[in-house]
């Protein structure tokens, strides 16, 4: 009975406000643009209080790595999934370690969000 309650609670809570990004270890593969490698990521937003997410690429020391994407701050409406590609220069291929998505909170008080969520995947090349 406790298990049933626990599983139900998990699903109910998940519906309220969840943020996820996959894959955990994306491969950086040669892209259609010369000199660039890319990783395909998928983000799911079940947070009602958040609509915008910032994408970032970092090295192992958490220093930013230059990258390109369709948008650095992208709108992912509540309950929807977005697939996007992150492009990194070939020369930064071995430096790029983390691809992260960070929820952006509104500065006005319209949504009572005070928890900012950030999920980081580790590029396959940087996987220990």
């Amino acid at each position: 009975m406790i298990k049933v309650f626990f599983i139900a609670a998990l699903f109910l809570a998940g519906k309220v406000s969840a943020h996820e990004m996959t894959p955990t270890y994306p491969p950086l593969v040669p892209s259609y643009v010369d000199g660039l490698v890319s990783a395909k990521m998928t983000m799911f937003n079940a947070r009602q209080d958040v609509e915008y997410f910032e994408v970032g690429v970092f090295d192992a020391e958490w220093k930013p790595v230059p990258f390109a994407a369709s948008a650095k701050i992208m709108r992912v409406p509540h309950g929807s999934t977005k697939t996007f590609e992150v492009f990194v220069r070939d020369e930064d291929k071995n430096r790029a370690t983390f691809i992260c998505s960070l929820s952006k909170l509104r500065t006005d008080n319209s949504a009572r969000a005070i928890v900012s969520s950030k999920i980081c995947s580790r590029t396959e090349a940087a996987t220990p």
Partner: protein
């Protein structure tokens, strides 16, 4: 006596020949989901103090981390060190914050608290067991040396991070 097995066999053979198979495939991949189960509220138990602790009249933010496979992710919770929204403040604000394991889906996860790494306002937890862990965050802000916080709305942000290992 021999007839019944024969009839039963005869009945079964045509069905076996026409059987359709519906294939269901599934794939469990490593992933981390961050859920903000409860957004916190600051209580104001004293003029110079704002606190999310329930004893201070606040509500502790509760964040749930779900991991599908063990040992793939690390949870990092950063408690506030400044207000994102506040009236103009002319004195220093002193911040303290702690992150503790609340509910767990597996009894072994209660060891996360003892194994956590804390520095500055950050707490790191290795998610070594698949399942869900609820983290509770305490945040306390005191103003100056016993000075009263000016009236207005105060808001601070807790950052919850899930980092692939």
């Amino acid at each position: 006596m021999v007839k019944y097995p024969l009839i039963l066999t005869a009945l079964c053979i045509p069905f076996a020949g026409n059987a359709e198979e519906a294939l269901i495939e599934g794939n469990v991949q490593s992933k981390c989901i961050i859920n903000t189960d409860i957004n916190g509220v600051y209580g104001n138990p004293a003029p110079d103090k704002l606190s999310t602790k329930s004893v201070d009249g606040g509500v502790e933010p509760t964040i749930r981390f779900d991991v599908a496979i063990a040992n793939y992710y690390m949870a990092r919770v950063i408690t506030p060190s400044s207000f994102s929204t506040s009236p103009s403040l002319t004195d220093v604000v002193n911040w303290t914050g702690t992150t503790t394991v609340g509910e767990v889906s597996d009894a072994g996860m209660s060891a996360y608290d003892a194994a956590k790494v804390t520095y500055d306002t950050t707490s790191e937890f290795d998610l070594t067991i698949a399942g869900s862990t609820w983290f509770k965050v305490d945040s306390v802000a005191t103003y100056g040396f016993g000075r009263a916080f000016p009236g207005g709305t105060y808001r601070a942000v807790v950052q919850a991070e899930c980092i692939a290992q």
